[in-house]
Amino acid sequence: MNLTRRIIPAGVIALAVALAPPAYAQSSDAAKISELEKKLERSLELINQLSEKIRKIEQASANNRDAQTKTAQHAEKIEAIEKHVSEIGGSLSRRAEESGLPIHGFADVGLVMSREDNPSFKGRKGAVLGTSLGALDLYLTPRFGDRVKALIELVFEAEENGGTAADLERLQVGYIFSDAATGWLGRFHTPYGYWNTAFHHGAQLQTSILRPRFLDFEHDGGILPAHTTGIWLTGTQGIDRGRIGYDVFAGNAPQITRVAAGSNLAAANRTGFSPAVNAGTYAGSGRLDPLHAGGTTQRTSIGFNAWFEPTAVHGLRGGLHGLRAEIVDNAPVTNQTLVQMLGGYLAYMSDPWEAMGEYYRFRNNDRSGATGTHGSWAAYAQIGYNMRRWTPFARVERSRLDQTDNYFGVQASGRSYQRIAAGLRYDVDPKAALKVEFNSTRKEDLGPGLTDRFPELRIQYAIHF
């Protein structure tokens, strides 16, 4: 407004001076004066219009300043709200980190059609078709501190008699010394080969439905201790050309239990085993017991795994592994065998190809009898091809197990066999997979002229949560 007040009088005076006639003409022409008066009025009118415009501009400027002030105030409020929300989010995150107990797991269900002639199917030789509950695997990773970590894994499995078995698969507490050394104490997955530590009960993680038969879990008839209770040191280290890793462990040596005379296998194959086992007629009746409750046999198993992942071939791992354990059974006259396994493996897990193979060579020594040292071996090779959600796969397995070796002769699954398997996996989403698998198995060492060849068709729906 001050500007308006200054401009208007100044403009009037300026116009008056500019338009004023010279003194000598004032008395001569009244008409001219009248004309000038009219011009002056129009000029005043113009000045008034300009004044009004200036007033409006000043008003708009004032309004704009108010708006800017309000915008700044709003921005401050938004910033304060953002900070508050961030603090709440951070607080919630901290609470989850500090007090949370993450629980994850795997579960699977499926359909099975099998013609296997074995005790699992009550000795029948015929099609067995039915839905099957696989396993509900819960694993917990509680947080204790920066260097201490723990892993607890509980598995619930449906049994053949309709009951449910709960098994504490893993209970291990570890300490991280460095990237190159983490020590574990407790029950853990025995770190031999690739499959046993890579997939274990995580059905959704593995491409196929079944594990290689000779790598089955102990209670499913596996011929190797899939779990060990003891101490385990593991670590990795980056080097110029890739990454190396190792595992060394020691724990309770397993025992072969449930050994009973008068087995079907002993009746069918009376002379196929060591003299002690033949005489006891308990061939094929025992199962590996990892002795997690304590090493009652006072014997120890030790082993190692060493691997290398070259930088030049992404996804490739090659390794060597070994196991040495003195294993006894609970036959009336105890058999004692020094199991010595040495082998190697290759795994190529990339995109689109995935391939893996493992080899186990046994040189077992009879410590209780006089049958000496026995050579056996088992191996598998599997290949898959990822086509976005679809992964067709195929696998071959073979084992040649010396039946005069008491370690294999006494175990229910200690027969040689060969199997081919093929299937298709479909990833419904990143946490769920639908699989179908067909396999054909030929069991040997059942007796003179006896073999058991049977097909299986399996469907599995496996999830991770």
């Binding site: 961030s86 989010g89 990773t141």
Partner: protein, 135 residues
């Protein structure tokens, strides 16, 4: 006429580059000042292969709003692949996957106060954190 066409091409290319720069905003990998890590170790840290730096336990954290851009730019993988890696790591080794933070402020605040923390943000890094690498 030729000069005009050339100028138009230069202009179009400039606009294209500018648009590209806008589509891929800058990402900064930041760490707590007490954490000694190098840019070449970022992938190992965010895939659980490297857990210790010197005497400090590393604590990688994800930044939810820009996680996809970070995985694509820094780790060269997508979210399902990243999650599968951590599922396997967690199941096999008991390692807890990185916590997902709600945004830049949350990541900055966590990295500032946590020794061993490593995160990534899409805004200019403030004082109190170490910039490991800019993408």
């Amino acid at each position: 006429m030729r000069y005009q066409k050339f100028s138009l091409r230069i202009l179009a290319a400039t606009i294209g580059l500018a648009g590209s720069a806008v589509a891929h905003a800058d990402l900064f990998v930041i760490a707590n000042p007490a954490t000694q890590i190098t840019a070449s170790e970022i992938k190992e840290i965010f895939t659980g292969e490297k857990q210790i730096a010197g005497s400090v336990k590393l604590v990688p954290v994800d930044n939810g709003p820009v996680q996809e851009a970070f995985l694509d730019t820094a780790l060269r993988m997508d979210a399902p692949r990243y999650n599968t890696i951590w599922t396997k790591k967690s199941f096999r080794e008991g390692i807890i996957p990185p916590t997902v933070k709600s945004g830049n402020n949350d990541v900055i605040e966590f990295v500032r106060r946590t020794p061993g923390a490593v995160g990534y943000i899409s805004s200019n890094p403030p004082n109190g954190v170490t910039v490991v690498r800019k993408y």
